[in-house]
Subunit: 330 residues, 2 copies
DNA sequence: TTGAAAGCGCTAACAT
DNA sequence: ATGTTAGCGCTTTCAA
């Protein structure tokens, strides 16, 4: 900015006024300074500007790490932001081990109040944060709390998946559960139990094994289920990763999917479509979640009243080739 | 920071010293201040710190928009950054129309020199930028120029795709080309021509139609090719989007793919795996490109000499169901 | 060992 | 219409 001022032969503040379109500058000066700016390819430093201004016109997406889920949310947010005049910054503290716990609060204090006018927090574990600006949580791990939030309907999704199996004629349906400290996992298990109950079926606790959203734990759980003296004819996994592992275990044991075993997952990650066989799964509308969160955030920033601060988006069943009616013979 | 200082009964500068582990503070004071910091959940503002320091320990990924390609690069960069101690910021000016041209320079001047120590520029059109820090371009549209860059081997990829068709026995192979102002598109066309030439085949210019990487143009091109009096038995499309459109046109015309027409795409976007039929295509190692770019950037920031500043990564053929030998009858 | 003061690039209130 | 000055939150001399 100094360069521009020197080059144009005016003061720094005049340049600032030109850039920000403030009154009190002659049209002539505006022209001249504008030309110099263009010639030098100057653009105000986002940082310096943020430090001085309360408003930055930037919204932030704070993530623990850039993985498939968070980047999908990011795409949704970007779509919703288009044409709003806002810029977008996605921030990850880098996923180092020490940064694990409390990354939400840390990231928030680092960016909010400067740099960003509001933030979307993706899959936070802690939601009792307070920041000096609007914050919307996407898929909070501990459920809707103080923070406005957008999440998928895990309960309904799980019922969808299990009901599909029930309709196919399965009655002995096992489940590989998720991380018990996460609300999403609890709800998926609850949906499983509710669907069975609604069908008048009793839950055989021996068929509910912990998978912890973890491939190795899930592998163990799948082995246990399939080596049960009276094994299930279908397995509902709390996430696709666990379902994919179940597919592998079934292959190891020489079980034909879907003829001898049906498998339903949850998430619909890209890998599921190209699995062998392609996985039938419950899809979360991740992009939509990002869009809704961004819409909500924009409204919050604009000071508008937001009616439903805890939104739940419907999930849907994606039918592929890992499910079929049970074979009477088996 | 004022709060912390007040709470701890010390000066602001002492707090700063504690945070940055500077010498000249008693162990006792360090302990006390650290406790207060933890209790208040304080974290230094990234912005204020950037403004003062030359070094920020943050690297930036600058994109025009958050779409599938750029987010895939982002994932690769994130992987490479893990454990390096760097934080990651991805920035998009928002994709508004006025920001279209020259977004690379603008973003760069906005963020570099403050906020980020170095940047990865994704698919820039302009590469003659100069910033006061290292910059690496991923898949620059105009080819390797001044900027260090990482790109896929478009030439080799195109040959791979066309050679697959040739090996299957096709001799009448059409092409839907890409945006002629983009190097990647030019190279893909060149690869097509070279592969045919290497097979001793002459290129029938009537079978090379412009698709511009645009669905509508591509649709038109596909229609022209397939309504040719002597239509090709196979089509190589410059990108998956065009190939997918070609599949649609073939279906409209009642052509069976791959029995009556083989189609090969380029990119391997997720949609291609679930197309009908699943598309055989040339895959770009997008994640790897992000990783390589990040590795290079890190080395550049560390002041290390980087031998190969223009890297080209090999592409590979993904065989799916849209190709087959030509039917002698047709 | 600690604190006071200057300054990073910018904007806004104020003075000319 | 233009320039001067203070200060955003932080780090870093430098002095106490």
């Amino acid at each position: 900015m100094q360069q521009v001022a020197a080059e144009a032969g005016v003061s720094i503040s005049t340049v600032s006024k030109v850039i920000n379109g403030r009154y009190g500058v002659s049209a002539e000066t505006v022209d001249h300074v504008t030309q110099v700016i263009d010639r030098l390819g100057y653009e105000a430093s986002l940082v310096a500007r943020s430090l001085r201004n309360r408003r930055t016109n930037v919204i932030g997406v704070l993530v623990m790490d850039f993985e498939p889920f968070s980047t999908e949310v990011l795409k949704g947010v970007a779509e919703a932001i288009h044409g709003s005049g806002y810029e977008l910054i996605a921030y990850s503290a880098g996923g180092h081990v020490e940064a694990q716990v409390g990354w939400e609060r840390r990231s928030l204090t680092r960016l909010m109040g400067s740099l960003v006018d509001g933030a979307v927090l993706v899959t936070p574990t802690v939601t009792d944060v307070q920041a000096d600006g609007p914050v919307v949580a996407v898929d909070p791990h501990t459920g809707p709390s103080g923070l406005p939030s957008v999440a998928a309907d895990n309960l309904q999704g799980a019922r969808l998946g299990v009901e599909h199996l029930l309709r196919s004629g399965h009655t002995r349906i096992g489940m590989i559960t998720g991380r018990s400290d996460l609300l999403s996992a609890q709800q998926r298990e609850q949906g499983y139990r509710e669907a069975l109950a609604a069908a008048g079926l009793r839950v055989d606790e021996a068929l509910v094994r912990p998978g912890g959203f973890d491939p190795e734990l899930a592998r163990e759980a799948a082995r246990e289920l399939l080596s049960h003296p009276e094994p299930p004819t279908a397995i509902f996994a709390a996430n696709d990763l666990s379902a994919l592992v179940t597919l592998e275990v079934a292959a190891e044991l020489g079980l034909d999917v879907p003829r001898q075993l049906s498998v339903v997952g949850f998430d619909n990650i890209p890998e599921s479509a190209v699995a062998d066989p392609p996985l039938t799964t419950v899809q979360q509308p991740i992009r939509r979640m990002g869009q809704e969160a961004a819409d909500m955030l924009l409204a919050l920033i604009a000071g508008e009243a937001v009616a439903d601060v805890h939104r739940t988006l419907a999930t849907s069943l994606v039918l592929r080739a890992s499910t079929a009616p049970p074979t009477p013979a088996s």
